[in-house]
Each structure stands twice: as C-alpha cells, then as structure tokens.
C-alpha cells in the first residue's frame, strides 16, 4: 500500500452539486461539501445507500452532471494533477475525459451503443485521444479485449453488444475505459447489475489491471463486501455529506459513525447465525429537505439534543494515523464517547 505522502492525484474540496427541481419545489442538495483525496495507485471506496450522492459525486468529477437541472456551485474544487477541472474549457476537459480520467458505469446493458460493434466503441477513445488510424485502433481494441479476458478477441471485436452477456459487456466497458491508460478510473457500481460470480471476476479483473497499469481507482459501491476486499481507503457518504473516512482495515475494526456501524451490522454474515438481518430504520431523507443538525439524527440510535441542533464537523476519531491517512467521523460521539452506552 502507498503510505508515502505523495501528492494527491485528484483532490476534491467542498464539492457542492445541487439540482433545481421542477415546479419550484426547491433545491436538491445531492452533494454538499464533499472533500476527499485520491492518491496515485490506490483504490478509494465511496460507500453509502442509494440516494446519498455517490453517483452524483462521481459524475461531478468529469462534469457529466446533466445541466440543467444540476449545477456545481462555485467554490467547489476538483483538482486533477494541479488543474481545476471545474475551470477548464470544454476542449481541455474532453482531452482529460477518457484519456486521463475514465469511467465505467453500473449498467453494462445500456451503457454500450446498440448500433455499433464493441470493437468500434473500444477503438473510439484511442482514435480521439491518441489519433490512431482506424486500423491501428482496431488492433489496440483487440489487444484490450485480450487484456480484459474475452476469449477469441479477433472474432468478438466485430460483435454487437446484444450478442454478449452482461459480464462480457462490463469487460468491454472496462476495455473502453482503459484503452488510453488513464491515471484515474472511476468505477460507479461496476458490479451491481451482475451475478455474484461474475461480480467477483470483474472485481478481480479490476484489481489485476490496476496493478498492471498502475492507476488509481475510485470505486463507488453500496456493497461493504466489495469495499473490504478491494479498497485501501474508504469514504462513507450519507445524505450528500462525507460522514466517515478511514483506511479500510481501520473502518472495519473501529467504525465510529453510527451510520457506518449500521451499515456493517446490516451485512449478512455466514459465521454468526441470525434469524433476521439488521436494518437501519427509516430511509435516506429527500435531498430537498435534509434534516437540521446532523443529517443522520432521525435514524440514529444515539441521537440527543445536540445532534438535532448542530451539525458536527469531520472530527478526528484517532487511530489509523500513518497508514491510509487520518480516521475522521462527522459525529458528536467522538467528543462524548460515554453516550455510546445510552442506546435508544
């Protein structure tokens, strides 16, 4: 693991992405002051339930949030190798998309264009960014198909997406994303739509490619099992905010935020027989009306008056200094640990 204090490859600071809802029902603060760093060669996991802003965060990095209704507020900073992506002109931004920072999506079924062969789609980024000829790009596409483990790449290169299975299509998506050897790969729930066995294969493939190509991966998922096996550090998001960051081992050993605790308790385990799965009561509130104070307080088993009145900042939760960076949590329990006994 990279514990060296290398410069962050990607720095996200105070990212605010809001959506103006139609009919003037207010503003959805989908991502609200999110900050994190991504270092070269590491895998950073972003975890959280549906609707807590993970996907919007990842789309914001490449400025793919549909505008309108969405917009990234001024004051946000997304810095890649010292350049603020939010201030780039469209052509410069395009030269980063797919070239330096690439992205793979949740739905391999719909993320490929149905009317073109997979070879054409893989080759496209190489033609655009590396100015390869069609012939050279096709050769590269075949190489990439081989790299992502598709059998008979010379034949499959001329297949259309509908001729492939879900797992194969996700491999094609990975090939598309990696053809220009990006420095950062954003994987937005890359395995959610796949069978469990295929899921494991795809994640192993990503791990292997990360080692071979030496890129940093931002892995967005709601699956803590995926986080445990495939990330170095974790950012836990809730209601548009970062609520906890820690190295993966630290997070699993000492979860501090009650939300993280709840998520961990909700993971089904094979070693402890249990009749019912634990669930966090309630659901993520609507992004147009986050609760006052700590946004988790209506669902929190420890919440007291202070949590309703005042939102905690990201507090240093101790432990984990050094490897994987600081362990921080956005919870007043860090300052008043004795309250942990007083579970509602």
């Amino acid at each position: 693991m990279t514990a060296t204090p290398a410069a962050a490859l990607l720095r996200v600071r105070d990212l605010k992405t809001y959506f103006v809802t139609e009919h003037g029902r207010g503003t959805a603060r989908a991502v609200d002051e999110v900050s994190f760093d991504l270092y070269p060669g590491e895998t950073l996991g972003i975890v959280g339930e549906s609707g807590c802003g993970k996907t919007v965060t990842s789309l914001s990095i490449l400025r793919l949030v549909p505008e309108p209704p969405g917009h990234i507020l001024p004051g946000s900073l997304i810095e890649f190798e010292g350049r603020n992506l939010l201030a780039l002109a469209p052509p410069e931004l395009r030269s980063i998309r797919g070239n330096q920072i690439a992205m793979i999506f949740q739905e391999p079924m719909t993320s490929l264009n149905p009317v073109f062969t997979v070879g054409d789609q893989i080759a496209e980024a190489a033609i655009i960014h590396q100015r390869l000829s069609r012939r050279a790009a096709r050769a590269r596409a075949i190489e990439m198909l081989k790299l992502v483990g598709i059998p008979d790449p010379e034949q499959r290169v001329d297949d259309y997406p509908h001729q492939m299975s879900g797992g194969m299509r996700q491999r094609v998506m990975i090939a598309m994303a990696l053809i220009c050897h990006p420095k950062v790969l954003i994987a937005d729930e890359p395995t959610t739509a796949l069978d469990v066995t295929i899921q494991a294969q795809i994640l192993e493939l990503l791990d292997r490619l990360q080692h071979e190509l030496g890129m940093a991966v931002l892995l967005i998922t709601h699956d803590l099992g995926v986080v445990a096996g495939h990330t170095d550090r974790v950012v836990v998001m809730y209601a548009g905010r970062v609520v906890e960051t820690a190295s993966t081992t630290e997070l699993f050993e000492h979860p501090t935020h009650p939300y993280t605790e709840g998520l961990l308790a909700a993971v089904p385990r094979v070693d402890t027989p249990r009749s019912r799965l634990h669930a966090i009561p309630g659901q993520v509130p609507a992004a147009t009306a986050w609760p006052t104070g700590c946004r988790f307080h209506p669902r929190c088993p420890y919440a007291w008056e202070k949590c309703v009145a005042q939102e905690p900042p990201l507090l240093d939760a101790g432990g984990g200094e050094g490897e994987g960076g600081r362990h921080t949590a956005r919870c007043w329990l860090v300052t008043e640990p004795e309250r942990r006994q007083a579970k509602r």
């Binding site: 793919l64 395009r94 030269s95 998309r97 999506f105 739905e107 993320s111 264009n113 149905p114 998506m173």
Partner: protein, 308 residues
C-alpha cells in the same frame, strides 16, 4: 413502339420481378426482413418502384421517340393507345409513353433528391434541437412551427415570383428546403429520448465531442424512424412537384414531368383521357407503393419486434 423499346420494356418488367424475388430470397435469412415481406403489399410496392426506377434510368432505351418531338401535330394528335403508341399521343402528337418514361426521370429524381435534402436537413435540425434542448430547441422548434404553418405552395409561389422560372436544381432545392419540418419534429422527439440513454453519458465520459455524440452515437440509433420518414417524404415531395407542375410553376414545359403531363392532358381529358390517365396513375402508384414500403420498413426496423 420499335422492336428495341418493346424489348427494353419486357426486360424492365422481368428485371424488376427478379429484383423482388432476389430480395425476398435474401430476406428469408433475416427475421427483420422476413417481417418486411410479411406485409402483403410491401413486395408489390418494391416491384412497382423498381420497375419505375428502371424505366427512368433506361428512358432512352424504353422510349421509342424523343419526348419533346411532335411527329405530326395534325394527323397524329390525341391518337388512342395502340401498338405503335403504347399510351397514345397527346394534343401535340407527342408519344405519351416516351414522355412518361422521361417524366419518370424528372419526377422520381425530384422526389428522391428533394426527400434527401428534406430528410438530411430535418434530421440535423431535429437532432441538434433535441440534444441541446433549452434555447437552441426553443428557437429551432418555433422556426419549425412557422414552417409548418405556412402553406408550402405559397412559399414556392414566392420563390417563383422572385426568380421567374426555376431550373430543375433550384426547384428541387426549394421543394427540399420546404419539406423538412415534419421530419425534424420526429427526429427531435426520438433524440430527446435517446439523449437520456446511458451510452450517451458513457460516450461523453470518453471525451467524445458533442458533434460526434449527436451524429455518431445518437442519430444512428434513430435510423429506423428516419428511414421510414424518408420513404414517406419521397411521396410527399413527388406530390408537391406534381401539383406545382400542374399549376405551371414547376418543371418547365416542354420538358416532361408527370405533373405537367397531367396539366397538358387536362384540356382533352374527355376526348383523350390517356393523356392524363397514365401519369396520374403513376403518381398514385408511386405514393401508394412508398406507403406500403414505409409500413413494411416500420415493422422490419422496429426493435421491439426483434426476437430477444
């Protein structure tokens, strides 16, 4: 009719039948094209269109006489159809069959080229409006509303008033430029739905420029409705040309087009109905065939009917 033109006519008929048979044979291999030929009228439509296209291309071979020449304005005028004059002669003693064949060139040519202009322009405008939405969409679509509200005959009349007589190229252009409105609406609606698809975001995430996203990724997915609309447009443009020529502001006489053949024959419609009958029949047949083909294409290209 000379022996050569009879021979050419027979060859044209046989050839078009063969083309349809060959298409049908090829279609058996693909579910989509099997669906096309399941339409009872689609094969007939293909056959009629193929025949008329062959006649148009081979006009010098199938036509025994020059379409403009008047062999004997006194004795041969309004001659009834016979073995010599397959479709009779008109009021100026010109051979109607020869004019019909050369007229097919003009009418089908304007139909195809005009529709090509209309569909290309309509697709571009519709795709841009649907992709960018907001003010781009608002401006373009209000323009389309205006275009749809204005009667096309009126626009063409204005063009004629400005430039007196329109040449073939200008006529095609004017017709094409006034026929794209409906297509642009159709394409816009299609693109509005397509732009929300994941592969569009995926393409943008790869750094594909907007123009390439629109014309390289989105528009090809709208190919099916565009092709159907193109088939229908050819018919519309052909009808517009015919009505303009009938009014005397389309193709300049003595050059034959099906529209001005009807106009020429209108005066003798009671005494020599063949002078208008065949051209009128051809126009109706082409439009009906195109509608039949468009219906077939609509089913053939509909992905919802594809086996999973």
């Amino acid at each position: 009719m000379t022996f050569g033109s009879w021979l050419a006519l027979v060859v044209a008929i046989v050839l078009s039948a063969e083309v349809v048979r060959w298409l049908r044979h090829r279609a058996l291999r693909h579910e989509r094209w099997r669906r096309f030929f399941r339409h009872p009228t689609a094969a007939w439509g293909c056959g009629i269109l193929t025949f008329l296209i062959i006649v148009a291309i081979a006009a010098p071979l199938v036509a025994p006489l020059d379409p403009i020449v008047q062999p004997d304005p006194v004795r041969l005028k309004n001659h009834a159809p016979s073995l010599t004059f397959l479709m009779g002669t008109d009021v100026f003693s010109r051979d109607v069959w020869s004019r019909f064949a050369y007229g097919a060139r003009v009418s089908l040519g304007i139909g195809a080229l005009g529709a090509l202009i209309a569909v290309s322009l309509g697709s571009c405008v519709g795709a841009v409006a649907g992709y960018y939405r907001r003010w781009v969409d608002a401006i373009l679509m209000r323009g389309v509303d205006i275009g749809l509200a204005l009667p096309r005959i009126f626009i063409v009349l204005m063009a004629v008033a400005l430039w007196d007589r329109l040449s073939f190229a200008w006529l095609t252009l004017v017709i094409g430029l006034t026929s794209w409105f409906a297509t642009s609406r159709l394409v816009r609606a299609e693109v509005l739905a397509l732009r929300e698809r994941d592969f569009v975001v995926a393409a943008r995430a790869l750094g594909v420029p907007s123009s390439r996203v629109i014309f390289g990724h989105v528009l090809p997915n709208a190919a099916a409705p565009i092709i159907v609309s193109a088939a229908l447009s050819v018919g519309n443009v052909l009808l517009l040309e015919a009505s303009l020529s009938f009014l005397g502001i389309g193709v300049a006489p003595p050059r034959p087009s099906w529209g001005n053949m009807i106009a020429d024959g209108a005066v003798t419609i009671y005494t020599a109905p063949w002078t208008t009958l065949f051209a009128g029949l051809a126009i109706s047949l082409v439009v009906m065939s195109l509608n039949a083909v468009a219906d077939g294409l609509r089913d053939a290209l509909d992905p919802r009917q594809d086996p999973a």
